[in-house]
């Protein structure tokens, strides 16, 4: 079966695969992780704020996002955003949102649900004495969160956050439903064009696997270091 495989097709497609495809994938991963972390932290703070309504709103949001398959969210969001935009701005026609913007917003909103649970666990892992000490020094609630609680929660949860980001990195390949040229999209375009499906999909698998593996290895080293600091 492997006798008549042509691996040279990969070599020829490398610039396209990486400069277009992988660049998109990594950009989307990084921006979605960053946005998801910020939005997710906000959700976590809402849930822990002690204001019942805020907490409920955040809780419902998180549960809702976590009970939907990501690919459906991407799909529906892409079709709905123009109409939501129209409704919000009161425009006469649906607003056109590019596939990149649409997928980025989707991933941020979706990942926020997961990041918020991680940050919530991180915040709760910090002993009550820490915010008490910060308040006793005269720091306000916001300052206590900003300078004392969140940095520690983030540091303690960094391995889990990165692990979630690795999952996100793999999940970004689902943007294929919007026919976007991410890494997998690029690989599959070449595969279709040259009729080299096995080679290209094999190569794509190896690349995803390698990057995820290296990142996981980094996480384990990081965990060991954090354990020492604590």
């Amino acid at each position: 079966m492997f006798a008549n495989l042509d691996f040279d097709v990969i070599r020829r497609a490398l610039p396209y695969l990486f400069f277009e495809g992988m660049t998109f994938t990594l950009t989307l991963t990084a921006l979605a992780a960053l946005g998801g972390l910020v939005f997710g932290t906000a959700l976590a703070l809402m849930r822990l704020s002690g204001f019942k309504i805020l907490g409920r709103v955040a809780g419902v949001y998180v549960d809702f996002m976590r009970s939907l398959p990501l690919v459906l969210v991407i799909f529906w969001f892409y079709f709905l955003v123009p109409y939501i935009g129209q409704w919000v701005t009161g425009a006469s026609r649906p607003i056109s949102v590019g596939a990149f913007a649409s997928s980025l917003i989707t991933f941020i909103m979706f990942e926020a649900a997961y990041f918020s649970e991680i940050m919530r666990a991180g915040i709760q892992s910090i002993s009550r004495g820490q915010p008490a000490a910060a308040s006793a020094l005269g720091l306000t609630y916001a300052q206590t969160m900003r300078y004392v609680v969140l940095p520690q929660a983030f540091r303690n949860m960094l391995p889990v956050l990165i692990t979630q980001t690795i999952v996100l990195f793999q999940d970004t390949s689902l943007v294929y439903v919007l026919s976007i040229t991410d890494f997998l999209g690029a690989a599959s375009k070449v595969a279709q064009r040259d009729g080299r499906l096995v080679e290209m999909y094999l190569f794509a698998a190896v690349v995803y696997f390698t990057i995820s593996c290296i990142a996981s290895f980094g996480v384990r080293r990081l965990q060991a270091r954090i354990a020492i600091i604590r």
Binding site: S127, G129, Q130, A132, A133, A134, S135, A136, L137, G138, L139, T140, Q143, Y147, V148, P151, Q152, R155, I229, R230
Partner: protein, 243 residues
């Protein structure tokens, strides 16, 4: 300096943790609070800087009512130093940054000024060399001395201590007590929850004995150690001194 009058606090409708507590600490006075475990000492001292709310009664610090909703609590707390049983240094910050954080964010001091003040206080507690380390790399006694320095960096008008030495290994107790004794001799107003009766004998002006949420005994040091009026305080004293 601190006025506590008729304070009652419930953790739940059926559990009253403080019952009609009334006492005061005047400027320059050192008051030691002691009593059995669970008697409400920590709760009382935390009410003073409003870390714990209470349902009735009044507490005022330097004339400012802490239970008045209009009181600017962060501002009030910045003038009341507090030292905790478990140090509560910020583990993600270097020692010097532990001392600078609130100076910069609460008192709006410049970085240079905060650093200078911080280094001066570290020197005072004998830890100048540790400035660039992280709390985890210091012994318990050293951490507690840093915690005292951190509180002093805010130029507090009164200091609260909640069992500052009870989480320490025995050989580290005295290094922390020495710092506190110096502070007392300099005229700092202090309210100290502790079972270190040696410290109380040396620097306390008054001793308060609490049991089951009540202030049972509130007496000048000489009277307290001479002959406590209540049975409960007598029993407690004989138990603690026989150790």
């Amino acid at each position: 300096m601190i006025e506590i009058s008729h304070v009652n606090k419930w953790y739940s409708p059926s559990f009253q943790v403080l019952t009609d507590c009334t006492t005061s600490v005047t400027k320059g006075e050192v008051v030691v609070v002691c009593g059995p475990s669970g008697s409400g000492k920590s709760t009382l001292i935390k009410c003073v800087n409003a870390l714990e709310p209470f349902q009735s009664g009044d507490i005022s610090v330097d004339g400012t009512k802490v239970n008045d909703p209009k009181t600017d609590l962060p501002k009030l707390r910045s003038r009341v130093g507090m030292v905790f049983q478990h140090f509560e240094l910020f583990p993600h910050l270097k020692i010097i940054d532990n001392l600078c954080l609130a100076q910069q964010k609460v008192l709006d001091r410049s970085r240079d000024k905060a650093m200078a003040k911080g280094m001066q206080l570290l020197e005072r507690v004998g830890l100048k060399e540790q400035a660039q380390k992280y709390p985890a790399n210091l012994s318990g006694g050293q951490q507690q001395r840093v915690a005292i320095a951190r509180a002093l960096a805010m130029d507090p008008i009164v200091m609260l201590f909640d069992e500052p030495t009870s989480a320490l290994d025995p050989e580290m107790v005295s290094e922390v007590l020495d710092v506190m004794v110096d502070l007392a001799h300099e005229g700092m107003t202090m309210m100290v929850v502790t079972h270190e009766m040696g410290f109380a004998r040396k620097v306390a002006n008054r001793v308060i004995f609490m049991d089951r949420g009540e202030i049972v005994e509130d007496a000048a040091k000489e009277d307290f150690f001479g002959k406590p009026r209540s049975d409960r305080a007598q029993k407690f004293l004989s138990k603690i001194l026989s150790h």
